[in-house]
Structures are given as C-alpha cells and as structure tokens.
Symmetry: C2
Subunit: 171 residues, 2 copies
Amino acid sequence: MSDQSVPTGESIQFKIIGLIRSPFKSPQNVPIQPAGAKGIKGRVILKKEYQAGLKDLAGFSHIILIYYFHLIQDFSLIVKPYMDKYPHGIFATRAPKRPNPIGLSIVRLLGIQDNILEIEDVDIVDNTPLLDIKPYVPEFDQREKIEIGWLTTKIHQLKKTKDDGRFIKKK
Amino acid sequence: MSDQSVPTGESIQFKIIGLIRSPFKSPQNVPIQPAGAKGIKGRVILKKEYQAGLKDLAGFSHIILIYYFHLIQDFSLIVKPYMDKYPHGIFATRAPKRPNPIGLSIVRLLGIQDNILEIEDVDIVDNTPLLDIKPYVPEFDQREKIEIGWLTTKIHQLKKTKDDGRFIKKK
C-alpha cells in the first residue's frame, strides 16, 4: 500500500483553550514524565469561555492533558531521547521534537474551582498552551502484557532523569 | 486567578502525517473505545517523508495514536455521552465534539513494514487523519487508585456500546 491516498499540504488548526502553570520556568530540569514529578503541583487555567465543559470532571482522580510543545521550533525524525545514548525514531520516543509537537501527560486532579484546575505530578513547563482535557479511565487507557522495546533496559532511569534542554534552541 | 494571561486569538497549525485505515466506513457502529474493538484490525499509513521516525518502534506492543476527529464540525461544552442518558461537561467525557477535536486511542501494534503499521483493537473510523504516534509505556501512562466519577456506574456498558452517530451532522 502506498501513501498516495494521504492528503498532502493540508493543515489543521487548533486553538489554545488554556494554559498549564507549573514551577518549571524553562525546560531544563523538568521531570521527563509525571512518574518523575510526584508531588509537583500546578494548575490548568482554562479560558472562561470553556468553563461549562468542566461539569462533572471533578469526580475523576486523573486527567489526560494534551498540549502544545510551544518551545519546539522544528522536528527531527531521529533523536537521542533522555534515557538513552543511542538514537531512535521520534515515534519510538516521547521526545518533543515531533512532526506535530503535541504533548500528553496524565496528571492527578486535586480540585476544580471555576475555570482553574489544581493538578499534581506535573512534568510540564510553565505557560504551556493547553489543547484538550480528557478524563483518564483505566478501561480506556490501560493495557496488559506490554512490551516497551528499547526502553526495557532503560526505564529504571525514569525517576532520576530530567530534561537537559536538548530539544530546544540555545539562545 | 483569572484567565487574563491566556493568549487569545492564537491558533496552532498541525499537519496531517498519515491516515488511519479501518473497517469502519462511517461513525455509526464504531466501538466507542479500543476495549470494545478487540481484534478489529486496521492500518496506519504514514506519509513516506516521516518513515525514518518509525525506527525502533516495532519493539513496542502498543502505541498511542493521536488523531483529528475530522467528521466533527463544531463543539459542544455539554454533551450526552454514549454511555449515559444525562449530560456532562465535554472535558468529563471522551466524546468527539470537543473545542479541539483531538482523538486518542491506544492500539496494539502488530508489525511495521516500510511506512505501514498493522494495528489491532481499532476504534477509529476509516481515513481518519493522523497527528502523532507515541509508544505506550506503562511507567508513563498507567496510574493506580483511579476514580472515574460519573462513569463508575456506567463503565460496565463499555463493550456493548457503539457509536450511534450522534456527534456528526446528519446529511
């Protein structure tokens, strides 16, 4: 099968629906995943116009944040991810220099007041633009008998690995 | 805290990096989550120009597909989701009529040949535009002690619930 049926030249526009606030003012030293960010608190500030969409979300203990890696300027198809010294395809990593710089983190939801969500286990740099919030549901989002390829022998480094700024442009 | 610091009027452009193929030619009767789509096979056709980014992905048993709900024309902040007769905020559901119509599914990766990924447990309508592929990693993506709010008493319906087309415009 070729890729001839894939539309080309089309782009899709999304809007910024809010901001993610965190203690991390720059990518350096941000935990690379929520598992390394235990207890780190932050906030989601949703634009007021979307506040009605939060109805009944407070009953969920965890949410999926989908956001824009706004500090990334272009992409690489081959990257050296944080936890390895060997290069891998970008789609085999969670590195931010992706063809579409979309980030995904599962964070703990502590509470909601009006348009503000208090969150915990935040591995996201301050002022990151928010694209979507989804409830985290084990029946939708958890799988068993998982294999994790090249990460198998590297995953033990997760909690001590932090962003070293390698994916953003030096000023 | 107000939302005054949230930038307004800005939009973010993403590109279509591939297509998701599946047996579901229209949203009607699509399983509403991969858990209801066990054994359903499909394909990801990545554009050739991104093929190098697949290096080492084949070692992963599951991948996260992030895609564009291309059949959705506008959003609702309050929706009646598939598994309930009561309305909920859109962010407390996985319904597609979101402010940014971004979909997320975790599917099984059966194999990769060139730019084609063979996948299973596909709950996605045919020819859905692909935005990103991420490896699914339990240490990143699984949490314990989860509460699921309004879904708690509804989740047992998951496997028998199918899309009834309620979120797309009637022709």
